[in-house]
Every structure is written in C-alpha cells, then in structure tokens.
C-alpha cells in the first residue's frame, strides 16, 4: 500500500512541478481566480438591485448558490487541458516512453495523473469560490448556509472527477493533442448540460435534491475511473493505430462474434443463442431479481402511501371504476388506435433506448429505466388494489399474457445492456476499448435480433388481441 502510494505520488509530484513551471497553465488560472470572482460579485450586486426593484424572489433566493456553482466550474474547464496534456501531450512529445519503460505499474501512472488532473483545477476552483464568498460576506445579502455550501463543494469536486476521468479515457485513446481536443467536446457538451440541469435543481428544487445530482455524478465518475483503469495499457499508449478507423477490421470483429461458429440460422439458434444466454446468466439473475423487487416495492409503496396523500372515499372509487369501465369498452377498437406493429415498434424502440442510455452510463441509466418500468407495473397493481380490483386477477389477465413475452424480452435486453456496460469497465488484458465495445455490442445484437425482437413481436399481437379479450372476460361487470 505504502509502496503504491509512494509511486502514485512520485508521478503526481513531477506533474505538479511541471504544471507550476508552465505559464500557459498558471497565468490563465491566476487570471481566472483574480478577475472572475470580482466580475461575478458585481454582476450579483446588480442582479440583486434589479430584482429588489422589480421582484423575483425565487431567483434572488438562489442566485448566490448558482453563481458559486458557475464560478467553481470555470477553473474546472482547465481539467481537460491538464488531463489531455498528461497522457496525449506526453505521448506527442515522446516523454511517455521512458516512463512506460520503467518499472512503474499502469495503476501508478494512471492514478498519479488522475490525482494531478483533479487537484490543480480543483484548488483554483475552490480558491475562486473562496474569494467570491469573501466578497459576498461584505454585502447585505443572505449568505448561503453551510449545508448548501458543502453540497456545492461536493458537486464541484464530483464535476472535477467526472471531467478528468473522461478526459483521461479520451487521452489514452488518442495519439495527438489535436485528436484528443476533438474528442474532448464529448466531455464539455454533456457536462454543460449537466450544469444546466443542476441549475434547474438549485432554482426550482430544494437543497436536498442536489444530493441526487452528487450521487449521480459521483457514480458516473467512479465508473469512468474504473473504465480508465481497466483499459489503460502501455501498448495502446504507444500504438499508432488507435486513431485509425479501420472499418474492415471492425466489421470482421463484429461479424465473427455475431455469427459465431454457426453455418445456418438454425445452427445459430441451436448453438450460439444458448451460448450467449449462458454467458448472460449473471446479469439475467440480477435484472430478474431487481425487476421483481421493483414490482413489490412499488406495489407496497402505493398501497401504503397513496391513501395518506389522497382520501380514497367510496365515491372516488366508483368514479375511478367507471373511468376504467369506459376504457375497457374502447378496448375493442384498440387495434385501430394502436396496431400491433406500432406497439411492437414502440417496445423495440424502448429496449434500444435502454441500450443507448446504458452505453453512456455503463449500464446504470438503462437499468434505472428498466426498474422504473417494472415499478410502474407494481404501482398500477397497487392502484388497482386500492380501488377494489384483485391485484392478482389484474396481473393475471392484464399483464401476464403478453408480459410472458414482453417482460421476458425486456429482461433479456436489459441483461445484455448491463453486460455491455460491465464489460466496458472490466479489465481486459488483450483487447482495446474499441474492440471490447464492438464485441459486447455484437453480443447485445445477437440476443436482440435472436430473442428480443421475436418475443416483442409475439407480445404485441398477444397484447392487442388476447390481453384485451381476457380483460373483458375478467371484468364483465364494468
């Protein structure tokens, strides 16, 4: 442990010294902290004067926390410069090879550079916030609470880790600063959106909501650090071929994995699909358990908590049952309003959205969407219980017939998506990040085309023609 920390510090220390000898980093940082807090303070003063004249309490109450967030973010934009310099800059100047030829381990190099990438901009960021807070304390405005300040400091820290870990992933995968800068826009744009989202939380939510932002950003940062560590390899830092888009090789890798050893579609279904399902055993178990838990938790939450919000009187129950009855009458024409192919398209699109969300969040957002869907089922059953329908009957006729196919398809698609995310952050000694991504996408497409699509197609037909008939049979009195 001590040896590892010493090695990480050795890498970091040199970088710190080098940075503070580089005027291109020091001067803009100093300018940023010596000028921007004063500009921000003056702007705050003018905004407060304006709002005191014309109203706008909501903005007035949260203006200073918002400005703190922005002031903290500006020096953080330098994290990209520092992080990109640390790997691709060294690669371009040829200074990385002597370091890579040394006995330092990959994790020492990675963590040392990550530490520097986070610390320098963060110190300037906190200094900037500190100066601004001193200026604010001299004005007759409400000073943010210690709790709010702690939240903003944590959020700023999480931003720094997120940006640096993303930039290092990019830096390792590029051979020139130019290429890395091009790719860095993939970090700046989402983080800018994230900041806007957090601004919305500050103005319209309460302080506690910021915890969700902190948790989300920290989780994503942690996964990015893991991704960086998993795919940090000396071989790729020295490789020249990683900037080259080799479609032929990409197609070959993808096709070989997708087709496997099968010589016909039947063989593919007989050998390859069961093989992929066996490989998905663990994520399938996780997703299935999570799905079941979500249904039950949501069901119990609704049955326990909703009556505390809404007074469920017999009149209300009758109204609700009448509304359900009206809807059941229209089920006869459901195939006109929502034809089976269109329903299939919606469901297939949803599972693709799970994948896309999973790809940008290493599985977490895709899994969240999946859990939300299953929680919705539990919630509906809970609501049915509250208004006097049997939840078991509702589930048996309203969900189970098509759910047998649809829920199975969604579980399989989510498990495959989860595996894509997990593979990205798993160490792989003989495959590049691109190759790992291609292989896991081929696995995903295998189960998507082989199982999910046919199951969703059957589910759509069953839902439109059989589920509706069963509902009418089960609830004839409505």
């Amino acid at each position: 442990m001590r040896r590892n920390l010493d090695a990480v510090w050795l890498v970091a220390r040199r970088e710190f010294i080098d940075q503070f000898r580089d005027w291109r980093i020091v001067v803009p940082m100093l300018l940023l902290i010596s000028v921007f807090p004063f500009i921000a303070d003056d702007t705050t003063r003018q905004a407060i004067t304006f709002m005191n004249r014309f109203g706008g309490d909501l903005i007035l109450d949260n203006l200073i926390p918002f400005v703190i967030l922005v002031i903290g973010f500006f020096p953080l934009s330098f994290t990209l410069v520092v992080a990109l310099e640390s790997f691709v800059g060294e690669k371009e100047r040829g200074t990385i090879e002597p370091l890579l030829s040394s006995p330092l381990e990959d994790k020492h190099l990675y963590l040392g550079k990550l530490f520097v990438g986070i610390t320098t901009p963060l110190v300037f960021s906190f200094l900037s916030i500190g100066i601004y807070l001193i200026l604010v304390s001299r004005r007759t405005v409400e000073f943010p609470s210690a709790y709010m300040l702690a939240l903003i400091f944590m959020l700023t820290f999480a931003h720094a880790v997120l940006m640096v870990s993303s930039a290092i992933v990019i830096s390792v995968q590029a051979t020139t600063i130019r290429a890395a800068n091009l790719m860095a826009s993939f970090v700046v744009v989402p983080v800018a959106f994230l900041l806007q989202g957090e601004t919305v939380l500050i103005f319209w939510g309460n302080e506690d909501v910021l915890w969700y932002a902190i948790a989300g950003v920290t989780l994503l940062s942690g996964l990015l650090v893991r991704l960086g560590l998993a795919h940090f390899k000396r071989e790729y830092l020295l490789g020249r071929e990683i900037d080259t888009l080799n479609f032929k090789n990409m197609y070959r890798v993808f096709r070989t994995r997708f087709v496997g050893g099968a010589k016909s579609v039947i063989e593919w279904y007989r050998i390859e699909i069961p093989l992929t399902l066996r490989q998905l055993k663990q994520p399938l178990a996780i997703v299935t358990i999570l799905g079941i838990v979500c249904v039950f938790v949501s069901y119990f939450w609704v049955t326990v908590n909703v009556p505390t919000f809404i007074d469920i009187t017999p009149e209300r129950t009758d109204e609700f049952r009448a509304m359900v009855g009206d809807n059941i009458v229209t089920l006869d024409r459901l195939d006109e309003q929502l034809p089976a192919p269109l329903l299939f398209f919606y469901n297939a699109r949803t599972t693709v959205v799970f994948l896309l969300m999973g790809l940008v969040s290493f599985g977490t957002l895709g899994l969240t969407l999946f859990m939300a869907n299953f929680a919705l089922v539990g919630g509906i059953l809970g609501a049915a219980d509250l208004v006097g329908f049997s939840p078991l009957l509702t589930f048996s006729v309203g969900v189970l017939p098509h759910g047998l196919f649809e829920l199975t398809a969604v579980v399989i698609a989510t498990a495959a998506m989860l595996k894509v995310g997990a593979q990205l952050v798993s160490p792989n000694t003989d495959k590049s990040l691109g190759e790992s991504l291609l292989l896991s996408l081929a696995d995903w497409l295998r189960v998507y085309i082989g199982l999910v699509v046919p199951l969703l197609a059957i589910a759509a037909v069953v839902e439109i023609y059989i589920t509706t008939a069963l509902i009418k049979l089960a609830f004839p009195h409505l």
Partner: protein, 312 residues
Amino acid sequence: MIECNDLSKQFNNEFWAVDGVTLNIKPGQILALLGQNGAGKTTTVRMLTALLNPTRGWARVAGYDVTKKPDTVRANVGVLTEQHGLYMRMTGQEYMDYFGKVYGLNAEFRKQRSQYLLEYFGLAEAARRRSGEYSKGMKQKLALARALIHDPSVLLLDEPTSAMDPESAQLVRNEIARLRSSKRTIIICTHNLAEAEALADSIAIIYRGKILLNGTLDELKRDVLGPVEYEAVFAEPFDAGELNLPEGVELAFRDATSLRFRVDAPLVVNPKIVNTLTARNAPLVSFQEVSRKLEQVYLKTMADAQGVTYAA
C-alpha cells in the same frame, strides 16, 4: 542476456510488424539491429522492454520472461528511445533524480549515481540548467545517462544518434563504446551503418519484420559478398599473360595496372600468388585485401529481399 524465439507482433489482427525474430545475445555483446523505417526494429525493442505483448513466441531479457515478469524486465533494462523524451522544464539533476526514484533507488545511491553519470557524460556543469536549454548532443547524452541510472544489465538503444550533427553523434558513439562491459548486453537499432560497424559484435538485418541475416561482420561479408578479395596493384602497365594460379584462387578482375583475386584460404595461397607475380617480374606496389563495407552487405541483402539487382 537477451534470448528470444519466434518473437512476433501483429497489429490490428492483420499486419505483422515483427514476424518470427530469434536472437541470442550473450552478456558483453553488442548487437546492431539494422533495417529500413518500419522494418520492425522499434517494435522488437518494445517487446524486449515488455512494453508490447508478443502475439507469438517468447523472449527472456536479463533472465526474465517479458510476458510473465514485465515489471522485473523493465527494472533490469535501460532504454534509450528514439526521441530523447526529456522533460524540458526539469534540470539535468532533477531529471536524473526523478528517474532514480522511479527505479526505486535509495537517496544516497541515487545521488552518487546521478553525479557519477553526469560527470561521466560531461554534463556535470550543465546539471543545474533546464534540459530544454541543452544542445541536441547533450540531450541525447542525458537520455543515455537516464537509461543507465539503475546500472542495467541490458541496454536497448533505439536510434541513439538519429538526427544529430556529426560531432554530437560521435560523442554519443564514444559513450556507447565506453559502456561495453563483460556483464552488459546491448542492442542498438540504427540506420547508421558506420556506427553499427564500429560498435557491434554482431549484426542482424531485419526486413518486413523478419530477420534476414544475423552474425558477425566477417560472417555477413563472407555469406553475402562471397570470399575475400585481394588486389595486386602495379607501378606501371603489366601484362601478366596466362597466370598459373594456385588452387583455391579465382581471378575476379584484371586491367593493365591491377589484378584482383578471390581467395578462400588467404594464409595459404596469398604467399604463392605474391611469389608467382614476383617470379614474373611484376612491378608490384601493393597487395592487400579489398575493403568491403557493411553498407555493401546491407544494400545487397536489401536488394535480394526486394528482388532487384544490386549495383555494387
């Protein structure tokens, strides 16, 4: 020592940068690895430094397997990369101290070793200056000193004098020659054939990832250019007429003032040739071996590999 067998590296699942390289370099030997740009020299060195994993084959460097003990291999190898790789904002002293720490040397030994190497390479006076201010030769010498900070038993030098002016290149070459010792194994990758000829005990020529030739300079000359040639030069035009040459001698070339012989066993037949010529009252000025350079060996080997005719 360095041993490798069938060492191969494939990139992108299609291009073999190194294909079946087998080498055995003993302690105290210097091997020059020659080849065109992109022939596979740097990739070979990077595999021997455990920077790249071989796709096929194995290598043992300083007694350790490069795939099983990469960190130990790197700890025992000194590498001079094609680009010197200096941190320009560090002084020479700081740079040496930093790499001393990287190689886990204790403070006292690190200080002694840095001072010794900086003095050895004539950099002691410039040690407190930032390396960005150094001349090209000084930078390369500092990089060489860095490669030696942990006194490695194996030294891998990739293009040690590339893009250097002749004086600086000569300085670095002299330093490499001084590094030869009974316990150290050295590989030099170079385009500079004179450098290879001057420094190396054995020479390997690599072409498209494959070793075409490997041996001592004399072995390579004999294998590629054939038996040694000797030339007799006359003071004035001399008509040798029909020469009764001893067995094992072949007349390779003649004109009015010189004769050239291809000889298998010079110790035995050269005195006989001289006797034959003097018996014919030839105005002999000199009789000496025709100088054959590594360049001829290299160019002929490359021409053969590419299927073109070698114009001597």
